[in-house]
């Protein structure tokens, strides 16, 4: 299905914002660029706050956490790898981890990259073959808006309300298996859009 002209314009706009945010992070990392930080902050701070409040956090706590998350952005911009993640992805993981930290009092458990047990990825993806991450985000965004309503609903409840699949099942009065299969179908669609673009 071809996007309408209006949709195409919106997607192109978003792609240029994504690119600008990526440049901002790189400028913060290399030059401690305060203007770049202000631009990044202007675009994302309100989104992160909204993201936290949507999951039931009160306004004051959300504001405080946004500050801490943005301090991390300012300090850790060097650890941002533009070849691995879009700026929004990187920020999403920081915000998610800070929220878990706050709620639980201990960090999210993750792979430790210096673990001697770490099995390295031996499938080397060439620069040309790997899709531009800015493009990737645009494709994801486009695909997301085209998902069937019931799949969009569970994605919404999961990402924006922070509900577990079990909670979503209760909330919608549907079996948990149905929640999981909607999530699976949504992710399958997005994966296949990806590989389609990659093989083009």
């Amino acid at each position: 299905m071809e996007p309408t002209l209006q949709e195409s314009t919106k997607l192109a706009e978003q792609a240029s914002i994504n690119e600008r945010m990526q440049r901002n992070l790189l400028a913060i990392a290399s030059d401690r660029d305060e203007t770049a930080f202000a631009d990044f902050y202007a675009y994302f701070a309100g989104r992160v706050k909204s993201f936290l409040m949507g999951k039931g956090m009160n306004e004051d706590t959300s504001e405080e956490l946004v500050q801490e998350i943005m301090i991390t952005v300012w300090r850790k911009a060097q650890s941002y790898d533009p070849g691995k993640a879009a700026a929004s992805t990187w920020l999403f993981t920081i915000a998610r981890n800070r929220r878990i930290d706050y709620l639980r009092g201990n960090s999210r458990i993750e792979v430790e990259l210096d673990d001697y047990m770490l099995e390295e990825d031996d499938t080397v993806v060439s620069q040309e073959a790997s899709l531009n991450l800015i493009q990737q985000s645009s494709i994801l965004e486009k695909t997301l808006t085209k998902l069937p309503q019931d799949q969009q609903q569970v994605m919404h409840l999961s990402y924006y309300r922070g509900l577990s699949h079990g909670d979503i099942a209760q909330w919608l009065s549907i079996p948990i298996g149905t929640v999981k299969s909607r999530i699976r179908l949504a992710m399958q669609t997005m994966r296949s859009e990806f590989s389609e673009q990659e093989s083009e």
Partner: protein, 220 residues
Amino acid sequence: MLTHHLTEATLQEYSVGALSKAMETLIACHLTVCPHCRHRAQLHDAVGGVMLDRIEPATVQTLPQNIIERASQQAELTKTKPLEDDLSSRNTNGIPRPLARLLPAPIDQLKWRTIAPGLKQFNLTNQPRKDGAFKLISAAPGLSMSEHTHKHRELTYIVCGSYSDKFGQFNAGDISDLDDDDLHEPVVDSEIPCISLIATDAPVKFSGMMGKVIQPFIGI
């Protein structure tokens, strides 16, 4: 060669941060040894990023300059990994660090508790059973577990040895990611005991006779 992986739904819940610390630990163990699932997990985080892009922003009170000021006032926090030295001197052979960090002793020197003939467990949590289990299970070669289903979800990470059920053979590094209605009857088919890490959301309902007897004691 790993053959049993995390489901799309589990990777998604891990990405949004809706799982318990126990489930996270187990998932991080598999991700350590499975580049395939690590790669799959990236897409979920990317979706999270796009969802963040699409949200209606709230009003923030703080100015960006204040953030920079605050950052310069605070001392740089260095993330410490206190167990590091300990870990390298210990026999953590074959155990990914997210699990190794939780063990008070090498795996063969843990204070295992025998719960049935050929079956030992080591609890990794003090939380009440109704909130879900988090434990290591060591099952002797040839042992057959009673057929059981799961009320919510059970994640199993194989530390060593192997077992088989109707879903196939599970070896070190593999993960068994069972949904609520899956009925299974695992049999240990390695020559060494099969040690697995188990996390559940809620207690398991046994359907077999043996299960009914041992369920109150082991709760897996």
